[in-house]
């Protein structure tokens, strides 16, 4: 790591504190993700679907969201996004272990089915693409009431082939709703590559058809992602309508803990993905700018590791859902 003589104060107008905070969010998510994989291998977590490799765009997006004021319709890889918004490793470990106090679903859904009313993170199910239209509807309600809340919705690129994606963009664009559509484009839908998913390489090409801006961004670059997301959120907040962001990211793990990507991907492809890992590159960049020394980084890691250990112990000790509760919450007051 090259260390500059004098610390730079900003990169592209983003101050050092913000950049360090972003790095910390990314690292925290990565360490939590790694912990959950470990627990999966130990048999304590029955299923996991990881966000590793996609942290930079998620953190960049989350930095522009006002939690509890703005709205978020996430998808299953958005672990880092939920942490930026205010959920905790303990929350997500409770979910991973399907404990009663899991604030996302109370252990009812698979892990990574995020939701938290307090933070305006809507509940999400497993059917991909349904959340796009919810985002448009949320933004419609904000518009009807004359509020400046922005709704952000995320997805993989594969899910953009679903009809709901079109229906949502069509509606949000028609009425200039304050929605930011973010595609975390890892080039794969389980095993199916983009070339078999869509006729052009960029989902954002479709923005033209809706008369809205479409932007491709390197989703592993937190700086570029921060700028692009900031512009889209500001545009939405100003009442100028939606933006479609196509953030290119690698998928550093198999699709899920039940999948083995070595069966359908070449060793070279896996290696290329590893070289596109956002985390190490961002640490190096902050180091070069004198914003984060190796020692700072180690200290950060040590603190986060302690946080993960405490959260893991708490989640492990937490109660399972009561079997009788299977009948609860079908309808209200019933």
């Amino acid at each position: 790591m090259v260390v500059a003589n004098r610390a730079a104060r900003a990169i592209a107008g983003i101050d050092a504190d913000t950049l360090r905070a972003m790095y910390r969010h990314m690292l925290r998510s990565r360490m939590l993700d790694e912990r959950i994989w470990l627990l999966n291998r130990q048999g304590l977590v029955r299923f996991w679907v990881s966000g590793m490799g996609q942290e930079a765009i998620q953190v960049a997006l989350g930095m522009h969201v006002r939690p509890g004021h703005d709205w978020v319709a996430p998808y299953y890889r958005d672990l880092a996004l939920t942490l930026v918004l205010g959920m905790t490793p303990r929350d997500q470990l409770l979910a991973a272990m399907a404990k009663a106090d899991d604030p996302n679903t109370g252990g009812r859904q698979m892990p990574a089915h995020f939701g938290c009313r307090r933070l305006n993170i809507i509940t999400t199910g497993s059917v991909v693409a349904t959340q796009f239209i919810h985002a448009a509807g949320i933004a419609l309600a904000s518009k009807i009431r004359g509020e400046d809340a922005v709704t952000v919705v995320t997805t993989g690129e594969g899910a953009t082939s679903e009809g709901d994606f079109h229906e949502a963009l069509n509606f949000a664009a028609t009425h200039s709703l304050a929605v930011v559509f973010v595609v975390e484009d890892n080039g794969l839908a389980i095993s199916v590559p983009t070339s078999k998913q869509m006729p052009t390489p960029n989902v954002s090409d479709r923005a033209t058809g809706y008369g809205i801006p479409g932007v491709v961004v390197d989703g592993t670059d937190p700086v570029a992602s921060y700028l692009v997301c900031g512009e889209a959120v500001a545009r939405a907040r100003a009442g100028k309508g939606p933006t479609l962001i196509d953030a290119k990211v690698p998928r550093l793990t198999s699709h899920s803990s039940d999948d083995d990507q070595r069966r359908y991907r070449t060793a070279e492809a896996l290696e290329t993905d590893r070289t596109h890992d956002c985390l190490g590159r961002f640490a190096a960049r902050l180091g070069e700018q004198g914003m984060l020394s190796a020692r700072d980084e180690e200290a950060m890691r040590a603190k986060l590791l302690a946080e993960m250990d405490v959260a893991t112990a708490q989640a492990e000790a937490a109660s399972d859902p009561d079997p009788e509760s299977v009948l609860l919450h079908v309808l209200g007051d019933a």
């Binding site: 939701g115 059917v127 448009a136």
Partner: protein, 327 residues
């Protein structure tokens, strides 16, 4: 009390609730300036503006999904699906999303949403403007499915549906819109969403039915009266959940049960009512449960003789009733 049509009662229910609660909005195809293809929302956009009575794009998943989103964000949306036949592109949003939102979030979220749609035939609507596909939703926990049969219930049940904290599918028989009239109070009232209504008291046979068929059943019941058969007619009103207790009470009292519906019989509302009667009324029955409904063909054809052949009318219901009476 003023006499109004079924359609006017539905409109009045929405209008009154929109005046009382500015979270209530209507979203659907042609509901705005035109006031809907049947005129149910006529005049409402003029009163409440373009955002609260809003023309949607021609996309049913969008209609339901946008209403779900708006409900997440504090609104009380009423989605109008132009014909029940065209609800299918929106079913994923209804069954995978709306129905499961409370359960899957462990009660963190709920989904106060009404989806209105006209169903039923006898209006030369052919295969795709005549269907009665409500049973598709009756097996889905997390949904309420209701069908009013008269103007009083239409208004009271709609107001109750709008205030209900969970998704309610509110199906309107399109032939009833202008043909069924009745007294409707001007004042505010609700009708419970999960109670049967005994429309006609009788001792010998009970007909369980819903929608426009309630009217048909009352006419058929009256035809048997001169012959000394006393027939009860019970309007189910709620198809999910079914009012188990209300069904059991009438079935036990009468001992003979006929279930009538416009939809085909396989895996239908009539199947579920029969199962309840079989489970809970065995010792009280004087005859096997009988059912009458549409034939097992994909949907109602257009030509008049074919449409007539499909539909259960008073004559067909009467002859079925006589078979049961004579059993």
């Amino acid at each position: 009390m003023a006499v109004k049509t079924y359609l006017e009662a539905i409109r009045e229910g929405m209008r009154d609730e929109m005046r009382r609660d500015d979270r209530v909005m209507i979203f659907g195809e042609d509901v705005g300036f035109k006031g809907g293809v049947f005129g149910v929302t006529e005049g409402l956009q003029r009163e409440f503006g373009e955002w609260r009575v809003m023309d949607s794009p021609l996309a049913e998943s969008c209609i339901v999904g946008v209403c779900i989103g708006a409900a997440f964000n504090g609104m009380r949306p009423i989605a109008e699906i132009q014909f029940q036949d065209f609800i299918l592109p929106g079913v994923d949003q209804i069954v995978s999303e709306a129905a499961k939102i409370r359960y899957r979030s462990n009660d963190d979220w709920n989904m106060p949403l009404v989806i209105r749609a006209p169903f039923g035939g006898g209006v030369h609507g052919a295969l795709y403007h005549s269907q009665s596909i409500e049973a598709m939703f009756c097996g889905v926990p997390g949904l309420r499915v209701v069908v009013p049969s008269n103007p009083y219930d239409a208004k009271g049940m709609l107001v109750a549906a709008i205030r209900d904290p969970d998704p309610v599918l509110y199906f309107e028989h399109k032939k009833a819109y202008r043909s069924i009239r009745g007294e409707v109070p001007d004042h505010e009232y609700t009708v419970p969403l999960d109670r049967v209504r005994v429309v006609r008291e009788g001792r010998d046979i009970v007909i369980f039915t819903y929608g426009l068929m309630v009217d048909t059943a009352v006419q058929a019941a009256e035809r048997l009266a001169p012959d000394g058969f006393s027939v009860s007619v019970v309007d189910l009103r709620s198809l999910r959940p079914l009012d188990r207790q209300g069904i059991v009470e009438s079935a036990r009292r009468c001992g003979k049960v006929l279930i009538a519906q416009e939809a085909n019989l396989a895996v239908s509302v009539s199947s579920e009512v029969s199962a309840i009667v079989a489970e809970e009324c065995f010792e009280y029955l004087d005859a096997p449960v009988m059912r009458i409904g549409g034939p097992e063909v994909p949907a109602m054809p257009f030509a008049k003789p074919l449409e007539d052949a499909y539909l259960v009318d008073v004559d067909k219901l009467e002859s079925k009733l006589r078979r049961l009476a004579e059993y």
